[in-house]
Amino acid sequence: MTPFNRNFGQGRSREGISPDMNWRELTKAGNIYEPGNANTYETGDWRTIRPIWNKERCIHCLICWRYCPDASIISTDGKFDCFDYKHCKGCGICANVCPTHAIDMISEDEIDKQKEARRNEE
């Protein structure tokens, strides 16, 4: 057999795939070799509005944690810890169910503008 002149997708990525991999590096036909790899697939960039936590108002009832359809509320020791922005799609359910209005939904555009302004100040 002659050597491959154009190898393709023989890779079996154990670390998961990422959008910066080329067609050779990706697994053949998009086959998945590791279970639970949805965690490595970042869907946070689908979001147009972002939940922002208001620490003072939060009573750590964790109703948001129960309602989040994407397991994007991270709790530690029975208390609200942070949002998983890599997977939060910005549905806003957490803000809607929060009894103390401790979650604000802010436009990602607005956040980008604020970042830009801060960079300009520096």
Partner: protein
């Protein structure tokens, strides 16, 4: 060792399938491919093969079951024609995109409507962009030989794509032909035992196939298929050479017949290539420099080999047994003309659509094409580049 036998095309292909002895065959009957599956199911019933035969309720299910079996790790096959292939269309793409080495004969027949059971290539041309390798066969011998080689091509680690073996309905499928078939052990040794790189039934290495893709991955996975098609051209030639050693018959990407010094060439696939070669011989005897190019492989399209074979001619007629309704000619015409464009050699390329719904291509028709090419060479003019051969106009 050679065994000369008289078989119809369908019988020859059924014998090939018996010798291949696949793990699973799922199929649904449709004229003119019915006989292949009918004969094969009798092999199953009589214990001539170890195959699990699945009698499904449609061609969509036939290919779906074949895909399931192939993904599970089986050497799986199906067989169809015409409306059956059209009904299978959706899952043919899935077989190709999941990179499953499924081999399936397609016995070429016209598509409805009007309903017609006879030969043309409309069925095969419907899946030319599906990602399936398409081999075409001039006669029963080639259909048989293509079947055996198709297994090796499909399962080659640089390819891993389905292969359809095409031959003309009734003309090849039902006519008795004399051919050499290999003995069972030679075929068994040539195709080898099937050891898939990965299989869903392999519990030790679990994985998931046919997953969801977004815009960030789908494009790359499509390109992997393109790369596999590119590889297939090399692999088909390698397997062809290897097959020559056991059969004495040589197969490449194209069959270039008397083209070395030709001024005029006809490009045609399947059984009509035989008629074209016959007329070519007669005209050669009269001193005309004519030749025939028969692509054996239509997908991937062997454009390098086509250019190489046709680079010296002055005029080419591409004969298509299918219509595209683009008003720009048949499917093979597009590919041949595009292939020759970069030569900038001013080769006149004309198209003849012929034989739709099983209309005979007579020897006089082929002679007329060569005469037309002669006129084009003489005058250097092409008044109409898409023509209809044998149509009452």
């Amino acid at each position: 060792m050679k065994n000369r036998v008289a078989l119809t095309g369908n019988e020859a292909v059924a014998q090939a399938m018996r010798q291949i002895n696949p793990d699973v065959v799922a199929a649904y009957p449709i004229t003119p491919s019915t006989e292949v599956v009918q004969m094969f199911s009798s092999f199953v019933n009589n214990g001539k093969v170890d195959t699990e035969f699945v009698a499904v309720e449609s061609e969509h299910s036939a290919m779906s079951a074949t895909i399931g079996a192939s993904a599970a790790g089986a050497r799986a096959m199906t067989c169809t024609s015409s409306q059956g292939l059209a009904y299978m269309f959706e899952v043919v793409y899935v077989a190709a995109s999941m990179r499953l080495p499924i081999v399936f004969p397609v016995v070429n027949r016209a598509l409805s409507a009007p309903i017609n059971i006879h030969c043309d290539h409309s069925d095969a041309m419907g899946i030319k962009q599906s990602g399936v390798i398409q081999l075409f066969s001039e006669n029963a011998q080639e259909a048989y030989d293509n079947m055996i080689q198709a297994i090796r091509i499909a399962e080659h680690p640089d390819v891993l794509l389905p292969v359809s073996v095409n031959y003309d309905g009734f003309i090849t499928s039902h006519a008795l032909d004399v051919l050499d078939i290999l003995d069972d052990d030679t075929v068994k040794e040539f195709i080898g035992e099937y050891h898939p790189q990965e299989a869903l039934l392999n519990v030790k290495e679990q994985f998931s196939m046919g997953n969801f893709d977004m815009y960030d991955y789908y494009f790359e996975h499509k390109y992997q298929q393109v790369a596999a098609m590119e590889n297939a051209k090399r692999v088909i030639e390698e397997i062809g050479k290897e097959y020559a050693k056991i059969s004495g018959r040589t197969y490449g990407l194209v069959d270039a017949y008397k083209l070395e010094d030709a001024d005029m060439a006809i490009v045609v696939m399947n059984s009509a290539a035989g008629s074209a070669k016959g007329v070519c011989d007669e005209l050669r005897a009269k001193g005309l420099k004519v030749g025939v190019l028969k692509p054996r492989v239509f997908r991937p399209f062997p454009h390098e080999a086509v250019v190489d074979a046709l680079k010296g001619v002055k005029a080419v007629a591409v004969l298509d047994r299918a219509e595209t309704f683009s008003t720009l000619g048949g499917p093979m015409f597009e590919d041949v003309r595009t292939s020759l464009y970069d030569l900038k050699a001013d080769i006149k390329v004309v198209n003849y659509v012929y034989g739709l719904g099983g209309r005979d291509l007579r020897l006089e028709d082929v002679e007329k094409v060569y005469n037309d090419l002669g006129d084009i060479v003489k005058t250097g003019r092409v008044d109409k580049f898409v023509r209809y051969l044998g149509l009452r106009e």
